[in-house]
């Protein structure tokens, strides 16, 4: 299966570390993360609202979260987290697929949703990806998830496949 990508590369994205202020005046630090940050990321997923899950992730059982984190914090992945006083409140990840392209996913804790942190996380992760020379990033999103689709479109993702339950989008860096 070959995935389509936009012909034109996207512009430069900001790189971590960054400090941003969300639309509710909360200061959030966006930092690169890896397996050393496992515990704080794990804590975030323990308090993740199961109703906010999408396409089966994040898992809800603790052991399943552990297995999943092994994959998404593993070798050749790229991660950024959004840190607030209370801990990690958002996380974005890029995981290599079998074709050497990268799949993106992002999660923001419910009290911090709708305030622009998701956009900052995605842009900063793409900035980190540019600094590592990644070129092709894709994602899928449930077609009824309008806020997420709007976010990805604003960042520069283009829809490449819209005929199934999930919309596929991609960006060239």
């Amino acid at each position: 299966m070959t995935r389509d990508y936009p012909d034109e590369p996207a512009g430069e994205f900001p790189r971590p570390p960054r400090t941003v202020t969300d639309r509710e005046d909360r200061e959030v630090e966006i930092l690169p993360a890896d397996v050393a940050d496992h515990d704080s990321v794990f804590e975030m997923y323990l308090s993740f609202d199961p109703a906010d899950r999408a396409q089966g992730i994040p898992p809800s059982r603790e052991s399943a979260i552990e297995n999943w984190l092994d994959t998404i914090l593993g070798d050749d992945t790229l991660n950024v987290v959004a840190g607030h006083a209370d801990g990690v409140v958002g996380h974005a990840t890029l995981v290599p697929d079998r074709h050497g392209e990268h799949e993106l996913a992002i999660f923001v804790l419910q009290p911090f949703q709708g305030a622009g942190i998701g956009t900052e996380l995605v842009e900063t992760l793409l900035g980190l990806a540019q600094s590592r020379g990644l070129e092709k990033v894709w994602l899928t999103v449930e077609r009824w998830n309008d806020p997420a689709v709007a976010l990805y479109r604003k960042v520069g993702f283009e829809t490449t496949e819209a005929e199934s339950f999930e919309i596929e989008m991609s960006i060239r860096l």
Binding site: A54, Q55, I72, V95, R98, A105, T140, E163, S164, E166
Partner: protein
């Protein structure tokens, strides 16, 4: 019950075959396996049928084998279930990406949305 299981050559479809055979053995249901080639997994229908027959032989379980020959296996599976009065369609599906996101393939999606016969999806 008369069960119609669709197998299109994905690993999840073979997993569904094993689960369905176990369950049919426990319940005494009659099983028909509909084989179809599938663009999404690039599998040849003869190879798929060979693997299905092997699994049935190993499990010592009798099932009827059917072939869906056209270009739209989802639609043909539904027609077969309706015209021959099957009680339930069973499919395997919900592949996970490396990142862990579940996606349904086009055949599963078509059957879920269009079938009047109850559908069981085995993930």
């Amino acid at each position: 019950m008369d069960i119609l299981l669709g197998v299109g050559g994905s690993e999840l479809s073979y997993h569904a075959l094993e689960e369905t055979v176990d369950r049919a053995r426990a319940t005494g249901d009659d099983l028909a396996v509909a084989i179809f080639g599938n663009e999404e997994v690039n599998a040849d229908a003869d190879d798929i049928q060979g693997r299905v027959e092997e699994t049935l032989a190993e499990s010592d379980f009798d099932a009827t084998i059917r072939r869906l020959e056209g270009d739209s296996p989802g639609s043909e599976l539904i027609s077969l279930a309706e015209t021959e009065g099957f009680d339930r369609i069973v499919l395997g599906g919900g592949e996970r990406s490396t990142l862990g996101k579940i996606q349904l393939g086009s055949v599963v999606e078509f059957v879920l949305l269009n079938s009047q016969t109850p559908v069981t999806l085995i993930r």
